[in-house]
């Protein structure tokens, strides 16, 4: 494969060219309620070409390897149509590396029967109460073999295995429908999805208990958020704003996101780190062949870094960070997060709650979105806090705010960092879902808008 890709690439006349080739094999099992909606094996292979000549990027993707020479010609022809926009790439070392998998339990060696039994068992637990109306259970293992060759000489072959399990229980009483969700897994083998009976039971219980919760009343509150939510908060509210492709060609944004700007208190540190093994956003090299590294986005409350592709790094005169990722061969690599989290500090969860006169303790995560200034996200459930005590379970609320204001309202950072992967992932520029991890300790945020009844 290496020599074929190199040979084909050698014929391209352009400033820069690269070929990626991927072979994907996956098994997917999906229950909704009692019915098995899907159990299937997917085999997919495809390639991507990116060429840069005097102007912008030309990209071609394809399934049939025999078509590679033809697609290269097309890519070069397309590249010539883009004029007058020189793109520079930050220099990176040429590498020649092969990374193979070492798995505890290789899902490719596990029978479909065993995967079916595992899911059937968890699904039975999720459904094991008359008040559970339905469930949604997804298991997926995806093995991806990726090749990258570049006209600069780099050759990287990486193999990766994602094994994830998502469990949702939906409880219903009259017109009240409540759901609880648990996401499990990351980079690794079948062992990541095994022995999760306890988690299935807890998910079911959470859905049942939510039926008894009261709708939250809208207003402004001090909110203590759990690690699941603080991670999403780091990712949604701040991570996206740190992606340099939103900044590098926008003078106004660059001024707003100047390094050194104070975003939060001294104890606030936010990190993106693709080098954490086992997490969803783990990789050795990104899809441009840049080595993964840890990047501080916020250090001691100050903006200290951002996430780069080779293009954005060159344009902004900063070092590349290895954050150019593509969800598959059908897409160009763009600036993405990996494992994004808030670093832990000292406070305990109990201390944080004890210091709140009237507020909300928010747990779990149903969804989140940002437009680079405002963010909104929906916790799964929560408790009303009065005089330092959890007094009542609440449901159906979400949190919203202005990113540039809210980070300075974080007045306490907990000591209990947890990272989460699970199924799903991040969406950007039509590329979704990209495996990422998010995490953090408990944090406390003052003056947050809570939407509810």
């Amino acid at each position: 494969m290496e020599s074929y890709l190199r040979q084909c690439l050698a014929k391209v006349r352009a400033e820069y060219a690269e070929i990626r080739w991927e072979e994907i094999r996956s098994v997917y099992v999906h229950y909704v309620g009692k019915e098995l909606e899907a159990i299937r094996e997917l085999r997919e292979q495809g390639g991507a070409i990116r060429v840069k000549d005097k102007g912008g990027w030309s990209f071609v993707s394809f399934n049939n390897l025999d078509r590679l020479p033809h697609c290269l010609e097309l890519a070069a022809k397309q590249a010539s149509l883009i004029k007058g926009r020189a793109i520079k790439l930050a220099p990176v070392p040429v590498v020649n590396k092969i990374f193979s998998l070492s798995l505890k339990k290789d899902p490719r060696q596990i029978s479909l029967e065993e995967k079916y039994q595992l899911c059937t068992n968890y699904n039975r637990i999720l459904l094991s109460s008359p008040q559970i109306q339905t469930s949604d259970l997804r298991y997926e293992d995806v093995c991806t073999l990726k090749y990258l060759v570049t006209s600069e000489g780099t050759y990287i072959k990486q193999e990766r295995m994602d094994t994830v399990l998502g469990m949702t229980a939906i409880a219903k009483k009259g017109h009240n429908v409540q759901s609880a969700h648990e996401g499990i897994g990351g980079i690794g083998g079948f062992e990541l999805a095994e022995d999760k009976e306890k988690e299935a039971e807890e998910t079911k219980q959470r859905a049942l208990e939510l039926l008894k919760a009261q709708p939250a009343e809208k207003g402004r509150y001090t909110v203590v958020v759990d690690p699941k939510l603080s991670g999403v908060f780091a990712h949604e509210a701040f991570g996206h704003l740190s992606e340099a492709d939103f900044l590098h060609e926008n003078e106004r944004m660059l001024k707003i996101m100047r390094l050194g700007r104070i975003f939060g208190n001294y104890q606030l540190n936010i990190v993106d780190d693709p080098t954490i093994r086992g997490e969803g956003g783990f990789y050795f090299y990104d899809d441009e062949g840049v080595m993964a590294r840890k990047t501080y986005l916020i250090k001691n409350g100050k903006l200290t870094g951002r996430l780069h592709s080779r293009e954005t790094a060159a344009r902004m005169g900063e070092a590349p960070t290895g954050n150019a990722r593509a969800i598959s061969y059908q897409f160009s690599p763009i600036v993405r997060m990996s494992n994004t989290y808030i670093e832990p500090d000292r406070m305990t969860k109990e201390e944080m709650i004890a210091g709140v006169k009237k507020g909300i303790y928010a747990q779990g995560f149903r969804g989140g979105q940002t437009n680079l200034e405002m963010f909104t996200f929906a916790p799964e459930q929560g408790y009303l806090i009065e005089n330092g005590r959890l007094v009542r379970k609440i449901r159906d609320f979400n949190l919203t705010g202005n990113i540039f204001v809210t980070f300075s309202e974080i007045d306490a950072v907990g000591n209990d960092l947890v990272l989460f992967t699970g199924p799903g992932g991040c969406g950007k520029g039509g590329q979704s879902p990209l495996p990422v991890s998010t995490g953090g300790p408990h944090i406390r945020i003052r003056n947050l808008v809570v939407g509810g009844k």
Binding site: V32, G33, L36, E37, I39, R40, E41, L42, R43, E44, G46, G55, G56, W57, S58, F59, V60, S61, N63, N64, R67, C71, Q78, A79, L81, I82, L112, E113, Y116, Q133, I170, K172, V177, G219, E249, N250, R252, M253, I256, Q330, S332, R366, G367, Q369, T370, N371, L372, M374, F375, F377, A378, D396, F397, N398, T400, N402, V449, G451, G452, K453
Partner: protein, 435 residues
């Protein structure tokens, strides 16, 4: 990909299974992207693959691939999965008469990349002339697709489809005041979108010249077509046969009951000429049709595919949607909301103090199945004494899709397409706003 290979797979599968179907899609997607006001990239995405569905010992099996050299393992995977698959309660359709649905335009097939570049440049130039502080992104897409289905019941059919779409986004970052305006249109027929999209962005930009304030409370509100999918998506789930079958749809037991305002008429229709989700058949070879969902506020039908319909003891509505890599599942096609009689200007004239909701963030979060939403107003305007007074922001809009759509004050008389939804403006007497 060769037809022979597809027939081989079917033949091989039928040695193992009672019923078999091969669904194949081959497509080419050409995208021209502009960033920071300039041409940034040109993409061409060739994709092809097939899905094999079998029914063996009365159970459904499925597998899919992009590699046609690997016929045996595709069949074996489908057979393996059939051991565990759902019980099949239906027969695959035989030879059918398909409606004539227009979804190909040769003007799109022959559209050149250079033309797409020019269209993008024109749109951005027009915006920058009127609003030089904006920074524009544009994405022009041309898609050519061929779908092909063959099964053991004698069905053998294929159709082509062309789509041209144009998405335009203008952004202005100011400290404490970010503004992003997006407009998008697309159809199976070529249209010069550049001017109308650019003009809508310029109009929105001028409405944002002033900032306005609104205090927390309940106000009359106009939802633009762009904002309405927030509400329709809950209805779309509620009428989905699969969700009804799982007994979690709030509409499950409401056929022939008044569930929305009597001013509303909603149709699911995959046969409309050149509409985005139009095609002569659905993903399992059932001829496309038009299905009445809501008639004067009354719920008339749910949407089904073959399997879900048979589980519910009814007929498919030809809503079995799929790609080559998945089994069919019920999903809406084109959703058409019938126009009413009131113009946008007349709606404005009715408002003493209220707002227009145009873009929101946070849809689909929270308890969307039951219709609840609580979203941040991304782009919205204050209306005072019938006039647009300026942009309002940092606000939450809270409500329930079902409650709002039960209480519609007026339906607009001009429709616009937003993705595969075609809807006029809707005017509601009140919505909860909080800051």
């Amino acid at each position: 990909m060769g037809v022979n290979k597809v027939e081989n797979i079917l033949e091989l599968a039928l040695r193992e299974a009672e019923q078999a179907e091969v669904y194949q899609e081959v497509s080419q997607l050409t995208t021209v992207s502009f960033q920071a006001n300039r041409l940034k990239s040109i993409d061409n995405c060739f994709e092809g693959g097939l899905g094999l569905r079998i029914i063996k010992d009365n159970r459904i099996g499925f597998s899919c691939t992009t590699n046609l050299e690997d016929i045996k393992s595709v069949v074996q995977s489908a057979v393996d999965s059939a051991q565990f698959g759902q019980k099949a309660d239906f027969r695959l359709p035989g030879k059918q008469k398909f409606p004539q649905v227009k979804c190909v335009d040769s003007r799109i097939s022959s559209l050149q990349i250079e033309e797409m570049i020019e269209q993008g440049e024109r749109a951005i130039k027009l915006i920058l002339k009127e609003a030089p502080s904006l920074q524009c992104e544009a994405e022009l897409e041309k898609s050519l697709m061929k779908a092909n289905i063959i099964n053991n019941q004698g069905l053998e059919y294929s159709y082509d489809k062309t789509v041209y779409s144009f998405a335009l986004y203008a952004f202005l970052a100011q400290e404490g005041n970010f503004l992003g305006i997006e407009e998008e249109e697309g159809s199976c027929q070529y249209q010069d979108y550049w001017q109308s999209l650019a003009e809508r962005i310029i109009e929105a930009f001028h409405w944002c010249d002033q900032r306005a304030k609104i205090s927390s409370g309940n106000y009359p509100v106009i939802f633009t077509p762009k904002a309405l999918p927030l509400l329709y998506s809950s209805i779309g789930r509620g009428i989905n046969g699969k969700i009804v079958q799982k007994k979690v749809s709030p509409l499950g037991d409401k056929i022939n009951q008044l569930v929305l305002s009597s001013l509303l008429n909603i149709q699911d229709d995959a046969t409309i000429s050149y509409a985005l989700a139009s095609s002569p058949m659905d993903g399992e070879g059932v001829p496309s049709r038009s299905t009445c969902i809501i008639e004067e506020g009354k719920l008339k039908n749910f949407i089904f595919d073959l399997q879900t319909a048979s589980l519910m003891g009814t007929e498919t509505t030809a809503n079995g949607k799929r790609g080559f890599d998945s089994l069919p599942s019920p999903s809406v096609s084109n959703i058409i909301i019938k126009e009413g009689r009131v113009s946008f200007a007349e709606m404005l004239g009715e408002i003493k103090e209220g707002l227009i909701v145009d873009q929101i963030i946070g849809s689909g979060q929270g308890n969307a199945l039951m219709g609840d939403f609580s979203v941040n107003l991304d782009l919205g305007y204050k209306v005072e004494k019938g006039k647009i007074k300026g942009r309002i922001k940092d606000l939450m809009i809270t409500g329930n899709a079902y409650d709002l759509l039960k209480d519609v004050k007026a339906v607009g008389k001009e429709s616009r397409s937003v993705g595969a939804v075609r809807t006029p403006h809707l005017f509601f007497p009140k919505i909860s706003v909080s800051g």
